[in-house]
């Protein structure tokens, strides 16, 4: 066993890459849930985004177009969920599960011709001299644009939810849709927009997986990342900052356990592979143990069907 082979700088840098897909998907789901909708189809939207982005990037040679196509694909799939739950009043849990199954199947179909293909490389953002700073430069300033976008989104979503009128209305719809409707807010329209945003974010996260992190296409390559994103939202008690923490924690343990496996630590591989899931959930459970406060932040109308009958 040789632990000295693990380089903390490289580890931290790759942690950010490993966490980004989950961070993006979880941020999207955070917004969706704050509007009072529980979309369990994150996994399906992620993998659909992964193949849409992969195929587009391979065909056009442009990763940027790939990422945009992934967002469009994820959003389009989420609209299936949106129409079913918001207009046809279907059950959100069942519809979300179906969306995941549908997304996995659809992506396998779309991905038929892309197995083993190499996607165009996504360039790192050239930050000039910043990247040359020892240690910090390698950790913070040598990533591609999507990593920075995801970090900006954490701050952006926090600020929008907290300080803007749009954020207030979104929270109000999630808190009490009957009251919001009585005040004249378009509950269904606001929720559809939130669902589409969530779909686009999940799609982007999926594409980051297939275009940057892996990078290639294999069936079912999201391997539960969507579910982890969902769990992170709940345990982060619907706070953007804690979602970041949860996602990076998960990413960190993923990278660490891979390194430990490579170093040949005498712990069963299965346990190491499971460790990211265990550690993330454990830490977030401990953090959200203060039930009263966590409940206060939970959208009161989460998962409830809204019917504008009155």
């Amino acid at each position: 066993m040789d632990l000295s082979a693990i380089n903390p700088v490289v580890l931290t840098a790759s942690l950010m890459v490993a966490a980004t897909p989950i961070l993006l998907a979880a941020l999207g789901e955070l917004v969706v849930e704050k509007s009072g909708v529980l979309n369990l189809g994150v996994e399906g939207m992620m993998i659909t985004g992964a193949i849409c982005g992969f195929a587009t990037a391979v065909e056009t040679g442009s990763p940027t177009l790939g990422f945009l196509a992934a967002m469009a694909g994820g959003a389009a799939l989420s609209m299936v969920f949106g129409v079913l739950t918001q207009f046809l009043m279907s059950n959100q849990v069942a519809t979300g599960l179906a969306l995941t199954l549908f997304g996995l199947g659809l992506s396998a179909l779309l991905g038929q011709g892309y197995v083993g293909v190499k996607p165009p490389a996504t360039d790192r953002l050239d930050l000039g001299p910043l990247a040359d700073i020892p240690v910090l430069g390698r950790i913070l300033f040598s990533h591609d644009l999507v990593v920075y976008v995801s970090l900006a989104l954490v701050a952006g979503i926090w600020a929008v939810l907290r300080f803007t009128r749009a954020g207030l209305i979104l929270r109000a719809v999630g808190e009490n849709h009957d009251a919001a409707h009585a005040l004249g807010y378009k509950v269904v329209r606001i929720r559809l927009m939130a669902i589409a945003f969530g779909g686009a974010m999940a799609g982007l996260g999926g594409a980051y997986l297939s275009l940057v992190r892996v990078p290639q296409w294999t069936e079912g390559m999201t391997a539960g990342a969507g579910w982890i994103a969902l769990a992170i939202v709940v345990f982060a008690s619907w706070r953007a900052g804690r979602v970041l923490l949860g996602a990076y924690l998960f990413g960190g343990v993923v990278v660490l356990q891979l390194n430990l496996q490579a170093a040949g630590v005498a712990v069963p591989v299965e346990l190491l592979s499971a460790s990211p899931y265990l550690v993330t959930i454990l830490v977030l459970v401990v953090m959200s143990a203060d039930r009263g406060r966590a409940a206060l932040n939970a959208p009161a109308c989460l998962g409830r069907v809204f019917h504008a009958s009155s």
């Binding site: 207030l168 808190e175 009490n176 009251a179 009585a182 005040l183 206060l296």
Partner: protein, 506 residues
């Protein structure tokens, strides 16, 4: 006085019912106008049309001479029409200022809004801290939030839907002072209420609706409450009759009942003691959230207590659960109809089975006796005039008043020795309420002891022999109802909640 709002020929039909049929009336500036009618008379549909939540099928409105047809509440607010809802319109997890901002078209930044809230709330005697969470406020304070939300927009017409149902008498006085001040400044108020005495003290004019039509209008100050009730119902209302009979022996004895609340937002019961005699009605008043639900749970057995805290004819029953108490004829009907007193998606027969299986023998050796259950449900429907196509219909499909008659009737027909009801006539129209009260009084004539927990003081005064008030989980010593004044009751209920500072400058 000039007409502020003219409503002409408004009609709105829903599948199967005409909610409003050719409704016309006008409201003058500075007038307090009452809208009277039973449940289902079309009052809410009418105000929803005025507030832009519902689009009328026919008819038109003019506001200050100009055509007025709001497509949505936003348009109504822009035109100067504001509405205080009975429920459903506050967000518990948001602060007072955020709640108010949501009801405004162009709210100023929160800090500035907080300033405005402070100044307006002081002008109208409705003190409120802008940064408190609405979930932590009392019912009276929540209503202030709603009213302030309207006032900050300088409304010309303020619609109030059943505003006093959750207030203590003192709080009602303060509300009325605020409304009078507003009216004096020229704001018209459209006031919906079941409480006829309130309408008589507050309103200048009343429009009476029956089955969607305007049947009459009058100056409520010139009418008695009984006359108003007759206009509403269309027939003479029988006031519940009670036969005077000496109270029997003590049936139920509650001694120092304590129960910490299971959830952080509930109320703990503290040292509750009272005794109840056969054939007596004990009325328990108090503002909502002072332990009513918890007291009902402790008496029904949902929340078992110390064994000797509750004695039935000397036998300790405090630790028994609901089914065991049903077996010995201690029955209860909780307040929340959908979800607590009845399972919304189950049929009336199934709902009848759920509480009556033991006492009516509707189950044997684990098997259900469907014919007997259906017969029992039909008997409840028949006896209590529950309007429904049949016992196979889901509880959810009944209107509130009809379902209430069913859940009360279901307990009454099980020949209870002790019956505890919480809010027996909540949201029920005048004639159905009278029927329910009469049924409770009839029970006492047969020697049943009845506890009525209610927030409707008029109801308690009408049917109870003794009155006690719940305040923060404590029960005041019961006093005979005869001769009790409203002021004394208010004091028993703990006076006005945080109302000392509320001083309207007149």
């Amino acid at each position: 006085m000039t007409a502020l709002l003219k409503v002409q020929g408004l009609t709105k039909a829903y599948p199967g019912v005409v909610a409003n049929d050719d409704v016309s009336f006008e409201i003058a500036e500075g007038e307090v106008h009452a809208l009277l009618g039973e449940n289902g008379a079309g009052k809410s549909t009418l105000v929803k049309m005025i507030y832009g939540l519902v689009t009328p099928d026919a008819g038109h409105m003019t506001l200050r001479g100009a055509p007025y047809a709001p497509a949505e509440p936003r348009a109504a607010r822009a035109a100067g029409v504001a509405m205080v809802f009975q429920h459903f319109s506050l967000f518990d997890a948001l602060s007072v200022a955020e709640n108010i901002a949501l009801g405004m078209e162009n709210p100023p930044p929160l800090r500035q809004l907080a300033q405005q809230i402070r100044s307006v709330s002081e002008t109208y005697g409705l003190p409120l801290a802008p940064d408190r969470l609405v979930g932590d406020l009392s019912a009276g304070e929540r209503q202030r939030v709603e009213i302030l939300r309207c006032l900050l927009q300088d409304p010309r017409l303020l619609i109030m839907d059943e505003p006093t149902s959750v207030l203590t008498p003192q709080e009602v006085q303060i509300l009325f002072a605020t409304l009078r001040k507003l009216a004096a400044e020229g704001t018209a108020i459209l006031y919906i209420s079941h409480k006829l005495e309130e309408i008589r003290t507050l309103c200048d004019r009343a429009t009476i609706l029956r089955r969607g039509r305007v049947v009459d209008s009058c100056n409520p100050r010139e009418k008695t409450a009984a006359e108003l009730a007759e206009m509403m119902v269309g027939t003479r209302l029988a006031t519940p009759q009670r036969t005077d009979r000496p109270a029997g022996d003590v049936v139920l004895q509650v001694t120092s009942l304590d129960r910490p609340s299971p959830n952080p937002f509930g109320t703990s019961l503290r040292n509750i003691s009272f005794s109840l005699r056969a054939g007596e009605v004990l009325g328990i008043g108090g503002v909502a959230g002072n332990g009513q639900d918890e007291l009902l749970a402790a008496l029904s057995g949902e929340a078992p207590a110390r064994s000797d805290a509750v004695l039935l004819k000397g036998q300790p029953i405090g630790a028994l659960g609901p089914s065991q108490r049903r077996r010995i004829a201690v029955l209860a009907a909780p307040e929340e109809r959908l979800g607590h007193a009845a399972a919304p998606d189950m049929s009336l027969t199934e709902n009848a089975l759920l509480t009556a299986a033991i006492r009516e023998g509707l189950a044997a050796r684990g098997f259900l006796k469907w014919p007997a259950a259906r017969a029992f449900a039909e008997r409840v429907i028949e006896t209590f005039d529950v309007r429904t196509p049949g016992p196979g219909n889901a509880a959810r499909s009944l209107s509130g008043g009809n379902l209430q008659k069913f859940v009360i009737g279901r307990e009454v027909l099980q020949r209870p020795e002790v019956l505890v009801v919480n809010q027996p006539t909540w949201g029920v129209d005048a004639s159905a309420a009278a029927a329910i009260r009469q049924a409770l009084l009839d029970l006492t004539a047969e020697g049943t002891a009845v506890i009525v927990i209610s927030q409707d003081l008029d109801e308690l005064m009408e049917i109870s022999d003794r009155f006690a008030a719940l305040n923060e989980g404590r029960l005041s010593p019961p006093r005979p109802t005869a001769g009790l004044t409203l002021e004394e009751i208010g004091l028993m209920m703990g006076g006005a909640h945080d109302m000392e500072v509320a001083d309207v400058d007149r």
